[in-house]
Symmetry: C2
Subunit: 201 residues, 2 copies
């Protein structure tokens, strides 16, 4: 088991190492060299496993976002599930403060997370395109919020930014409140538009 070399090594292990580095030392510490070093390998073999650095970042994002959507309760009203879904997505973002940087690369992981919400809306009587639009709205709202939030509540020093010096920064509880209101507005809007169109059935 100590006989591990670069010859066995798959993409998952590379992503594991990169995520460990992200968690322990932040995104700046994730480089092809540092990931290789953590695996006891030169940077070169990583290219055959994950492509290049952009692709590695995408794979990290995909792993962090996998299974993001909460399970659907059977008789749960769609409004409740939508709020739970939005909250879960936001929380997954919050877990990794610097994810907003990872995020720049692909939104594919979000699409996967979207399916259970779409299904729930369809079961609630939304037309296909109506459900897609509602889901997109909520996804963009939450992802956007989380992205901004990630920038506002920064915990890594970045040299010379004194805490509380940014007047647009909000506290954790203010952000929580802002998020709750925001999601409520969007969900209520979706509900009202839905009622206005689907009076039959």
């Amino acid at each position: 088991m100590a006989g591990r070399t670069a010859f066995d090594l798959d993409a998952d292990e590379v992503v594991d190492a990169a995520l460990a580095l992200l968690e322990e030392e932040g995104l700046d510490a994730v480089s092809m060299r540092s990931v290789g070093a953590r695996l006891g390998v030169s940077p070169v073999p990583l290219y055959s496993r994950v492509g290049n650095k952009d692709a590695l970042l995408e794979a990290m994002a995909a792993r962090l976002m996998a299974g993001m959507a909460p399970a659907v309760d059977e008789g749960e009203p769609w409004v409740d599930y939508a709020v739970r879904w939005a909250t879960a997505v936001r929380r997954r973002f919050a877990r990794t403060a610097e994810l907003r940087l990872v995020l720049g690369n692909s939104r594919a992981p979000f699409v996967e997370a979207t399916r259970p919400l779409i299904d729930t809306l369809r079961r609630a009587g939304f037309a296909a395109d109506e459900a897609v639009q509602a889901c997109r709205l909520l996804l963009w709202a939450v992802a956007g919020f989380a992205t901004i939030e990630g920038g506002t509540v920064r915990d890594r020093p970045t040299r010379g930014r004194r805490p509380g010096g940014d007047p647009s920064g909000v506290s954790r509880t203010e952000a929580d409140h802002l998020f709750a209101v925001h999601v409520r507005y969007v969900v209520e809007g979706i509900a009202r538009d839905h009622e206005a169109t689907g009076v039959d059935g």
Copy 2:
């Protein structure tokens, strides 16, 4: 006038050069070396003018966002102004596709843009904290939207991303529609909450 050296050179000129580089070649082309070179100067003098690269990015963001808020019409209902304001903020973002990266650094420019909206809400009878919350909601909603939008509608190749290959990507007109609905939901939500509290007067 050809006798320009590094000895006269102020922060504004540095920011000018950096923005020109941003517009012409993208954010990756903006480095302390490249900005210096465009000014015919070594990278060293830039440090006494703008601090460091983070500070330069902040200054660029501030310049791009300056005067972002549209002028207030006298008798205009606050709802109309709020929508105009949101639209203007979004447009300012869209102008610089990679601004979302510049954005990571400071939200101070947004705070400045916020004032006319706050004033309009106050004149419409919003309490101080109510106006601040409404404004924050709209700001976060729009900034978040624009950030995601900037990542989705990418025009720079980034090696190996085929156009239309990202299923979460939406077309320009879809994004426009999404934005309009999103802003409407938030503004309507603000209006309803306001009516619910401020029945007197």
